[in-house]
């Protein structure tokens, strides 16, 4: 056999001065120290560690946090309101129409000369003399709220429907999934438009006088539209997750131990599919925001004077050549929100999806 590798000096053992003490048997303690067990981490902590190492996800998180903070806090002390014209000295200021960012109207300039302090219009004003910055903020508020609530509705319906279908399987599953297929096969844009038109009329009368009327029946119909149409994707995802987790041997072991269905779902199945579901909710939010913006853009979204990012963009369409900034601001905010949620969702998936591990 040929062992002529270069790096093998033949030691002359007998000439070697051996330190005999080194050749004593090692004690069990010494051996135990040799082996170190890794620090204990939980699934969650491990995932957070990975998430922290993802700069894009962390940046998105910071952007979203700042945005939400601004949306909540700034309107509290901002001197203008989203639905009222700018007033100078208690009088409506008709000159403050379509101002460019950081400029003042004639009346305002006059007032300032008289020594009044006037807060600048950060994003300018719109054609009804309203401060544009606060309108964009409210628009973002509405869009985010719609996104979050719609996703929540989708989550709840999808989770319930999907778990029942996935856990019980067989004929139940067959029927439930065929229903999902039918809903899936409807052209969703068309359905969204039709549904919101119809719902708007029905709700308009039904909601009169209730608290919900304050939210606006357009808003409510938006939620219903989302609830009715977009849960199917979530239901499929949940069902798939449950089907794959159900085959795991730990579920079988729990059954062999005599655990009841409820316990198996609660202790074994749901905890193991939650991460995937939350990731998909995070990715659902931007798509809801998009749909809301789209509906508002074509005039089916939230009711005036309540702005949403989509309706702002729609309103800006008219004077796009003269006042491009009115299009740019809501567009940037939409992009920022959607991009952040998408990047965050991706980051969460990389960190928490069990399939991408090991």
């Amino acid at each position: 056999m040929n062992y002529n590798t270069d790096k093998l000096p033949r030691k002359q053992l007998l000439s070697l001065q051996l330190d005999l003490s080194k050749f004593e048997m090692a004690s069990e303690d010494e051996k135990a120290q040799h082996e170190t067990m890794r620090e204990s981490t939980t699934f969650f902590r491990d995932g957070m560690k990975k998430l922290r190492k993802n700069p894009l996800a962390i940046m998105s998180l910071i952007v979203l946090f700042c945005l939400v903070l601004t949306i909540i806090v700034v309107p509290m002390f901002y001197p203008y309101s989203y639905e009222q014209m700018i007033t100078v000295n208690g009088k409506r200021d008709k000159t403050a129409k379509n101002l460019a960012p950081m400029t003042y109207s004639k009346n305002e300039l006059k007032a300032m000369e008289e020594g009044q302090k006037i807060f600048p219009h950060l994003f300018g004003t719109d054609e009804l003399c309203r401060d544009y910055f606060i309108r964009v903020l409210y628009g973002a508020r509405v869009s985010l709220a719609v996104g979050l609530f719609a996703s929540l509705i989708v989550l709840v319906i999808g989770l319930l429907y999907g778990s029942v279908s996935g856990y019980f399987g067989g004929k139940v599953d067959m029927v439930m999934m065929r229903i999902v297929d039918i809903i899936y096969s409807l052209p969703d844009t068309l359905m969204v438009v039709l549904l919101s038109v119809v719902l708007n009329q029905i709700l308009g009368t039904a909601l009169q006088g209730t608290i919900l009327a304050r939210v606006g029946n357009n808003m409510i119909s938006l939620f219903i539209v989302f609830g009715v149409l977009y849960w199917v994707g979530m239901a499929r995802l949940v069902r798939g997750q449950i089907l794959s987790i159900k085959t795991n041997e730990y579920v079988l072991a729990a059954r062999a131990l005599g655990a009841k269905s409820g316990r198996i779902i609660k202790r074994h199945i749901l905890p193991n599919c939650m991460s995937v579901i939350f990731i998909s909710v995070a990715l659902q939010i931007p798509s809801a925001i998009f749909t809301e913006s789209f509906l508002s853009f074509i005039g089916l979204g939230v009711q005036a004077p309540m702005p949403s990012l989509g309706s702002l963009a729609n309103a800006a369409r008219g004077g796009m050549q003269s006042y491009p900034y009115k299009m740019v601001f809501p567009a940037i905010i939409i992009c920022l929100i959607v991009l952040s949620f998408n990047l965050l969702g991706d980051g969460l998936r990389d960190a928490f999806d069990p399939k991408l591990r090991r």
Binding site: M1, N2, Y3, N4, T5, D6, K7, L8, R10, K11, L13, L14, L18, S21, K22, F23, E24, M25, A26, E30, K31, A32, H34, E35, T36, R38, K49, K50, K53
Partner: protein, 333 residues
């Protein structure tokens, strides 16, 4: 003396992961002569498969060869360009994997894939390649080969697929065939068929084989020489007889003690204690020390050097040093 066909010198391969650097292969050296069957045996995580992938340079991200040379006929393939590597793979060295299903493309017929492989490496035309494909299927003992050429991988059984893989690996007459756990996914009776086939083909075609497995039984059956790996290092190497009948590393001894045998009359097994080492957190000294029954103080701190036991046997274990010393001392006294 003839130059060995393949010389691996001081090869190191690591994977950079979140929790640190996994040193899968840690400075190993070995030679392979023409027409020999070399077995590399070790547990999962011992670095045996990574060694094979390094030789083929098909490591998946984030794996990198971090040092050493792999000389094939005197040329260092670590320095090869991508184009040279494509030429080298398949034509000079071929590999077959554990799972024959995932290594065959499910959307092409067997004939198609074989022809592809043949035409890639030789200047045969289509008709000649088809002829060669048929010849290869006959060689690996596939029944009704004409019909098989038209079938898709999923229509075949596991054993049949592994035969096809072997045919594909051998169609360009490589000098070395690397078999990475080729029978682990197969049933015992099918495993026996495949091993028999490989031995037969080796005799017929004369290629060298590197057989990678965790199964000492497979190794005993197939190999002329054996390398025992643990935690990315070679702990012992030698001819099959030396390794099985005269093991000189505590790990090899432990392994041989721990497997059940047919003739031991249900005597209690003697297991190796502990768990495999954490490769991201390699201890200094001998990696096996904490599981070793004869662990000495020196084992915990110093890496044992490889020592010649005899002409065809080397081991890296401090026990041998101790033994040599004690024998010499006894001789004097």
């Amino acid at each position: 003396m003839n130059e060995p066909l393949l010389q691996v010198k001081n090869l190191s391969t690591s994977f950079k992961v979140d929790s640190g650097e996994v040193r899968a292969v840690n400075g190993i050296s070995f030679n392979l002569d023409k027409g020999r069957v070399l077995g590399i045996v070790g547990e999962s995580g011992s670095g045996k498969s990574v060694t094979a992938y390094s030789i083929m340079r098909i490591l998946v991200e984030p794996g990198r060869i971090t040092g050493g040379q792999i000389l094939f006929n005197g040329e260092d393939i670590v320095q090869y360009s991508k184009k040279q590597m494509r030429e080298f793979r398949g034509k000079r060295v071929s590999i077959i994997f554990q799972d024959p299903m995932t290594s065959l493309n499910p959307v092409y017929t067997i004939g198609n894939q074989l022809r592809e492989a043949i035409m890639l490496h030789t200047d045969r035309n289509r008709a000649q390649a088809d002829e060669r494909a048929l010849e290869m299927l006959k060689l690996v003992g596939v029944n009704s080969p004409e019909q098989r050429l038209k079938q898709y991988p999923f229509e075949l059984s596991g054993g049949m697929r592994q035969r096809i893989m072997i045919a594909m690996a051998l169609c360009c007459e490589p000098d070395i065939l690397i078999a990475d756990e080729p029978t682990t996914a197969l049933d015992v009776t099918i495993q026996a068929q495949i091993l028999e086939l490989m031995q037969e083909l080796q005799k017929k075609l004369g290629m060298a084989i590197i057989m990678i497995t965790h199964d000492l039984g497979v190794i005993a059956d197939m190999c002329d020489e054996i390398i025992v790996m643990y935690a990315g290092r070679i702990c012992e190497r030698g001819t099959a007889d030396e390794i099985f009948y005269n093991p000189r590393h505590e790990y090899t001894k432990g392994l041989l003690r721990s497997i059940p045998r047919l003739d031991t009359n249900h005597a209690r097994l003697i297991p190796i204690s502990g768990s495999p080492v954490d490769l991201t957190n390699m201890p200094k000294g001998c990696a096996f020390a904490s599981r070793c029954d004869n662990c000495m103080k020196i084992c915990l701190n110093e890496l044992p050097e490889e020592l010649d036991i005899n002409d065809c046997h080397k081991a890296s274990c401090w026990m041998n040093v101790k033994q040599v010393y004690e024998e010499a001392k006894g001789g004097i006294a």
